[in-house]
Amino acid sequence: MGQKMLMKGNEAIAEAAIQAGCRFFFGYPITPQNQIPEYMSKRLPKVEGGCFLQAESEVAAINMVYGAAGAGARVMTSSSSPGISLKQEGISYIVGAELPCVIVNMVRGGPGLGSIQPAQSDYYQSTRGGGHGDYRMLVLAPSSVQEAVELTQKAFDLADKYRNPVLIMGDGLIGQMMEPVEMPEYVKPELPEKTWAATGWKPGCGRDRAIINSLYIDPNVLEQHNRKLFAKYAVMEQEECRWQEEMTDDADYVIVAYGTTARIARSAMRKLRENGIKVGLIRPITLWPFPNAPIQKAAEHAKAFLTVEMSMGQMVDDVRLAVNGKKPVEFYGRTGGIVPTVREIVEQIENMAKEAK
């Protein structure tokens, strides 16, 4: 390791997971994430203790993840939007039972069967829980293959730390594109032992019987459980929020964008700076918890914000919540699998600057 390789995003994520100690993968084919299960099916049988299994459906796959995570393993599944919708029931159970796992969503266009082209229209679903009930997942949104690798490894640690699923939200492009990537040497941090896992019990073995469960029939107990989960989410909000800021200090206009869109926004920002418009970029890396702090800070001096997404406008709601009416928040989005261009974003900001004058 340590040397640069040219890898497809999906394959790099799969290899990063194996490096991070993931030995179990349960998946189901769907475009544009197929290289993850394909890579896992090739690699995992060659890794000691590794097991790849193609499930009969996304529903089965996520429940296999539940069983494997409940048995204490590092486990992953991946899918793309319609498949992630199918997994939502299982994800809700996994959260309820406080099981760690990593889920990858290479988002494609929707609604329905939509398209197989990249999109970011699963933002609401990802950041608001997605399934039934009151819950959150950590949502990590890489904008390069290298970052996908690093975040995938981090995802396993975070999942174990919080006993909560972590979602890697790619946008199709991240999965499909090839970039040079350096596989970092994974060093496992100190994490709590999985004494809660179901691995076999007998009286006097030194722990209570493990019961992996999300059913709390007593309303008081369930409320207590939900409060416990939310106390955990509060810690995540404190500790795990990640973002990248570029040239925001003197920016009159701040673009907020994540994933692939952030790369395009960065090019637009540079172009606009060349044209004399002071533009900055805030790129959320965690979509949940959402990086409110840098946006609030920028709202002190910026004239306006532009949120760019490959959707009809979802993250823009969070940006508006963070800005809280202090400054205008505009939105520019393309959908259906269409990726916004640098030129389009430049025009948006130029129009905003013109209107301001």
Partner: protein, 245 residues
């Protein structure tokens, strides 16, 4: 004085929540006794369903997982693949296994997943209040087939054991009943065998247990067992449907 019969330590002290005369309790006991007698309590991991047996994790005195409706075979698969030395079993009703979980059970069976499945067939949805199940008999009245199940309208009951026995994957499939002591003893033998198969690494084993639901059938426990014997057994013939050497 020697003990002829007492409650196995593989059941916890928690009183069962089942209705009076419900045969779930008998089947729980048979499963627990089988695990105890095979000496694998410390390896056993049970997967509870959604349905009347949803609280099974309170009763089986081993590590347990509670699965989403119908997904127990997938959960058991994940668990077993991680720790192949564990003795993993699911306990599922007919709505759970034969309706919403038809895909999961079929694929666990065809993979020859080395798990033990206890399938409790009482021809009705018990927990939700007596709705029609995939195993409800033609003509049987339930809360969602108030005029009796009409096969022309909603199809025929599924014979799960026969269906799964057509697959190459399973190692052992049997249908038993618990309507009297003789059949309970036979059921016990089959359940024990199904665990034995797993321990020996032979693969997927399923025991379908014909069971009663006095409450939702609207019968006394005694009438229910008689009804089971007279109506269910002709529809669901008892016996070993598949067994590999």
């Amino acid at each position: 004085m020697a003990v002829v019969y007492e409650k196995t330590k593989m059941l916890t002290d928690k009183p069962l929540h089942y209705c009076p005369g419900c045969t779930h309790g008998i089947i729980h006991r048979l499963v627990a006794e089988a695990i105890d007698e095979l000496g694998v309590q410390d390896k056993a991991i049970g997967v509870a369903p959604v349905g009347c047996a949803v609280f099974a994790y309170d009763y089986f005195n081993c590590d347990m997982m509670e699965a989403a409706h119908g997904r127990a075979p997938a959960v058991a698969t994940g668990c077993k693949r991680v720790n192949p030395n564990n003795v993993v079993f699911t306990y599922q009703g007919d709505g759970d296994l034969a309706s919403i979980g038809a895909a999961e059970i079929t694929h666990a069976a065809t993979r020859g997943e080395n798990i033990t499945v206890i399938f409790v067939n009482n021809a009705i949805y018990g927990m939700t209040g007596g709705q029609m199940a995939p195993t409800t008999l033609p003509g049987q009245v339930t809360t969602t087939s108030p005029y009796g199940r009409d096969p022309n309208h909603c199809g025929y009951p599924i014979r799960v054991s026969e269906m799964l026995a057509t697959l190459d994957g399973p190692a052992y499939i049997a249908r038993v009943s618990v309507h009297d002591v003789k059949h309970i003893m036979e059921a016990k033998k089959a359940i024990k065998k199904a665990f034995q198969m797993q321990i020996e690494g032979k693969g997927f084993a399923l025991v379908e247990v014909l069971s009663s639901c006095p409450t939702n059938w609207g019968m006394t426990p005694q009438e229910a067992l008689k009804w089971l014997q007279e109506n269910m057994i002709p529809q669901y013939p008892l016996g070993v449907k598949k067994e590999v050497e």
